[in-house]
Symmetry: D2
Subunit: 398 residues, 4 copies
Amino acid sequence: MQKIINDPVHGFITIDDKLIYDLLAHPYFQRLRRIKQMALAYLVYPGAVHTRLHHALGAYHLMYKVLIELRLKGISITAEEEQAVKIAILLHDIGHAPFSHALEHSLVSVHHEEISLLIMQKLNEEFDGQLQRAIEIFKGTYSKKFLHQLVSSQLDMDRLDYLARDSFFTGVSEGVIGYDRIIKMITVLNDELVVEEKGIHSVENFLIARRLMYWQVYFHKTVMSSEMMLVQILKRAKELIHQGVSLFSTPSLSFFLKEEKQSADFSSDPRCLEYYTQLDDTDISTAIKYWATCDDQILKTLCTNLIQRKLFKLKFVSLEEGKPLFKNWLDRVQPNKEQENYFWLEGDVLHTGYDNKGGKINILFKNGSLKEISALEHGLISAELQVPVKKHYICHLN
Amino acid sequence: MQKIINDPVHGFITIDDKLIYDLLAHPYFQRLRRIKQMALAYLVYPGAVHTRLHHALGAYHLMYKVLIELRLKGISITAEEEQAVKIAILLHDIGHAPFSHALEHSLVSVHHEEISLLIMQKLNEEFDGQLQRAIEIFKGTYSKKFLHQLVSSQLDMDRLDYLARDSFFTGVSEGVIGYDRIIKMITVLNDELVVEEKGIHSVENFLIARRLMYWQVYFHKTVMSSEMMLVQILKRAKELIHQGVSLFSTPSLSFFLKEEKQSADFSSDPRCLEYYTQLDDTDISTAIKYWATCDDQILKTLCTNLIQRKLFKLKFVSLEEGKPLFKNWLDRVQPNKEQENYFWLEGDVLHTGYDNKGGKINILFKNGSLKEISALEHGLISAELQVPVKKHYICHLN
Amino acid sequence: MQKIINDPVHGFITIDDKLIYDLLAHPYFQRLRRIKQMALAYLVYPGAVHTRLHHALGAYHLMYKVLIELRLKGISITAEEEQAVKIAILLHDIGHAPFSHALEHSLVSVHHEEISLLIMQKLNEEFDGQLQRAIEIFKGTYSKKFLHQLVSSQLDMDRLDYLARDSFFTGVSEGVIGYDRIIKMITVLNDELVVEEKGIHSVENFLIARRLMYWQVYFHKTVMSSEMMLVQILKRAKELIHQGVSLFSTPSLSFFLKEEKQSADFSSDPRCLEYYTQLDDTDISTAIKYWATCDDQILKTLCTNLIQRKLFKLKFVSLEEGKPLFKNWLDRVQPNKEQENYFWLEGDVLHTGYDNKGGKINILFKNGSLKEISALEHGLISAELQVPVKKHYICHLN
Amino acid sequence: MQKIINDPVHGFITIDDKLIYDLLAHPYFQRLRRIKQMALAYLVYPGAVHTRLHHALGAYHLMYKVLIELRLKGISITAEEEQAVKIAILLHDIGHAPFSHALEHSLVSVHHEEISLLIMQKLNEEFDGQLQRAIEIFKGTYSKKFLHQLVSSQLDMDRLDYLARDSFFTGVSEGVIGYDRIIKMITVLNDELVVEEKGIHSVENFLIARRLMYWQVYFHKTVMSSEMMLVQILKRAKELIHQGVSLFSTPSLSFFLKEEKQSADFSSDPRCLEYYTQLDDTDISTAIKYWATCDDQILKTLCTNLIQRKLFKLKFVSLEEGKPLFKNWLDRVQPNKEQENYFWLEGDVLHTGYDNKGGKINILFKNGSLKEISALEHGLISAELQVPVKKHYICHLN
């Protein structure tokens, strides 16, 4: 069998494996069509409405490509491993909550990767154990470690695709990366992914582009403020429900608003996964439309303002600088204590350009020596880029 | 004031007029963020999730560009006319129903342009008559006819943008057009838009690309079948509600499901417009998720299958060829009469490559003579392209 | 071995075969770096300075891709055949004269494909017979006919590359084609290349785009007039040399200016090929710079005007319309008989959108039936597109 | 008057000024068609055959754009200044030698900008003083300093264009910059160009991309080695001519080979400029073809190897590391002293990512404060990027 799918980013994506096709067609995977990759970033970048499903397909496509390259270089990968690592990347984000990262901890207290694993295990049952190897690769327990690194590492197919895709759909050229060159330059040494010397500049560009995308797009003030409003909305709704207030929500959303689910719940209560796999952006968006007319002034304000794009003001200021601004705001807005909690937010964002604690990017030189990307003479990925950049923000109703 | 917006299609879009900025910020316009430009085409082309708002901004941008070009050519356009024609294009689609054309006649019996006009008039009141000239241009009653043609004609900014945008987001290169060249070649003669001789090939390419997009994308079998399922869903829901069955729907959707609204209703009952401007893709999508678990077997089947992407089969066959296929289907599926009506659909699609009944595209030659694009010697836009192509289809539950 | 080459059109081109690498490195192939693909078109389209070598690499790359696709579809292609057909496309244009088609018949009376074959045979000797199968494929005598069709037919890799490349470097979006989709849709039936049903629109777009490129770019009035001046320059130089006038030229150019070489000469006199393979755009350009200061008024005028881009005026007019224009020109310019012959040119250009005499494009339907692209119901490639379009031109010193 | 020119990089370039059009048409400007922007880089990047003329048009286009933006921001620029600054950028490189930077100091001992100025002055005479203001802007003596900065500074239209263009034609995505965003963000404060706060990331990206292009492309080992061979060729030819050996060269090349011209010569001897403006890549390329068959073994080797792309090996090694390599080479190649001088080269390349000695890039914050790009907290343009990176190389006949 062979199916091709048009992708404006990578051209044509080929599906030539029955099992992979069946996984694509499964409702669990189709759910990702209804989850935006970049949450509310489209409020600033109108093109950024692409979905998790599209990203999963793209990452699968890059995996398809990199496997061909690795084999050309003599790296041994069996047909079973090929299928497994393709499945692992295809499903790596299948456990994402609605609005992707924006609601990561607002709906359940479980990391999306943990849920991805649970869903893969469920699919493994349905498909008679055919996902066993994919699961091992995903978990990092499979014997060939580099296969896991292709799915999850500093330079995995996930990151290559999302950077390329997010810069494409936002139109932010600062995020353009040479992913095709990186893929040509990746190889395996001692069961670890490394990058050939000729790929140094592409990797430097990739790390710099990633950092620029963080500060220009993912941490864009308006993007952040809209996503914080979304978080406040969920928090307020939960509180009201806890107080016994009756609020509209879809059945699957209700389930998670009523009480905070933990990892343990997902294991013990099958309804957790059942409801979770029915939850998507639609449930949240509809609830917000309803709540925009509810009686609670706080929830109503948050929802109405988000729908009409009357967003909180967000500023990066130091803790010190924030204090007088907070006082001014209190004087001007005169909130009660409860309003204050919902309408004035402070916190930190943090990003590390190249964080080699979670794994290094090593460069393989022609003479066989190996050097970390941050240890190159005259390299761009200097010590500074490894220091986390932390910015304090205030974010409030205007 | 000056705002710029990133657009992956056109680069940067500039907003430099306070009134236009305020219209953009208005909830009526923001609603377009929640209406997909290409309805369910994303089930085939995963990138095609762009919104009506994005298209409206794009068409506005092309208007911005073409006005600069026309002025360079000595065409007189006052500052007031400039603002008005920009507003007219920005709002030309503001009356679109959820899922754009797919639900055009399923929710209300009023054409979307008529509703666009009603909404513009409402905005005109809110903005103290500042949209008066824009409305005249939109309606075609303004003295300078060519301004209306820039908004609505065979070669308007609407068409240039949607073709460019749809081919960009689907990744279908057959739809690529030289819109920037066309814009450079447009001029005005006797108050009519015409295209300079050097633009002939770009216009030919535009008409051919449009035709190819119709048959490859807009009339793609899977796209059509999904949109027909959507239409059937709305039809069934209305019928059930008419029968007194209780079905979930949001307040604004309820309003339109209960009884079919006509033009007259929009004039007489202010709730029509009020509810309409709250209606978007979310309302429909959520209803479908609810209805997928309802008691009615027909509605449940339609909704479940659409959500899970188990779509009707669609085939282009002649009326004759369809007959035995219908019999086979009856034998195989054994539907009751009601099911038959919902699960077997037949009809025609029709497209005319260049339909000069609604206005001609005229070419201005260097010697001052004028010729219609279809009358050129050795031209590509032959008589054949003016004949409507009609294809009969069958579309049914598998 | 594996080498990758950056190509702005196709991304990365991979060379993974020693023989192919050696052919690339051969001076005969390197010569193509100094021959512009589009001759003097850069006088109108400043970006169109790409070379024959670049095109040859691009066509090779598409061959690389299509072979992968064909094998995925179960078409049997041996490793030897793969190498051979890649070599055949790589060398298909190796016999091109300087300035590509513009000087096709001005330097020698031999078609460039015939010389390509001679050069391949010479290389075959150098490489101990390793090009034998490539030569057979190129000539069309190899048993598997479809391999020849990949190199030379209505839909060969040559055409796909040059259209994509020429539209890229000129920036003419009317020539954009979906070559990657066509490559996915090509298959083999009864040893003939055919296109699967789903590729119909891409093939239509390809044929239309090709036609548009002919009239907008290749037959652009200014492009044509500059190339005609070039032809006149060579003609005049030959005549002067024949008359015994001493004119500068490089040794290899001298050889061909002195007397017209025929096919037979290339077979009998080894110097023909030796000199030919040293000839490139540089020889012609330098000669023109010299001749711009020569004593012959005609040659001097032609050369000076070409260098300074003071080009002949070219107009498409009927034979009839041309007559009075010629008289006016005579009156105005007052040329002597010799000048008249060089400074006033008339002729016809001819292009057929889809010329199925040289081979057909057949569409393979799902039901197994086969139809020519021009025989499709509602197809774009109508009878009209098969009629040669002929335009008469006049072209003269201003 | 209005002319448009297709540019695959920027779209359409508009010429709407008679004087500018006449300058474009002048033989001095047309000469730039025959000078490659990136010299011999096409030996590595086959697409990099674009010309100085194309770059000059592109830089002019960006000037066209930035002037519109500056005026929108209320910066006063008169029509005369507009014309002048456009002319200044159009002609900024008109004094370039053949093969651009590669031969900068091999043909004459005068910097190309000095010659650009001489040519502008010559044109100023021809055009009756109409270039006076352009010359002042080019020299930096015009009252409005920011106009000069648009032509020549850390962030001028020259750099924006060449980076965008070189990355486009090489296909090196690491060089992609957001020049359109930068242009939107440039403004003027106290007669100096500054960049608005929102443009920080685009400027950072620009500086990083520039650095990457230097190391990946401009200082690519193969590019450098080919250009060094070219320099050696000219050096050897001069020496031979000095020794009285008779070597072919075109008249204009002869003039410069015979004796080294200094600034003073260009002022005193009108033939200098006359010959210089007739010199282009063709003269050099043809000479190399001739010299490849000359009697001098050194010149013959250099020329043959360059034509056939048998290039010197280049390695970046320290002075220390180079020593044993040099010995090995001597042992293996056994050159005589003269050959040694031509066939073994050593030296340093040097590049500074952001060199604020030649002018700073200042960021204008919303609060009105100004900070240099390298002084930003958490900025990418750290102290390290201001330190010149110096690499020692050896480059030798293989």
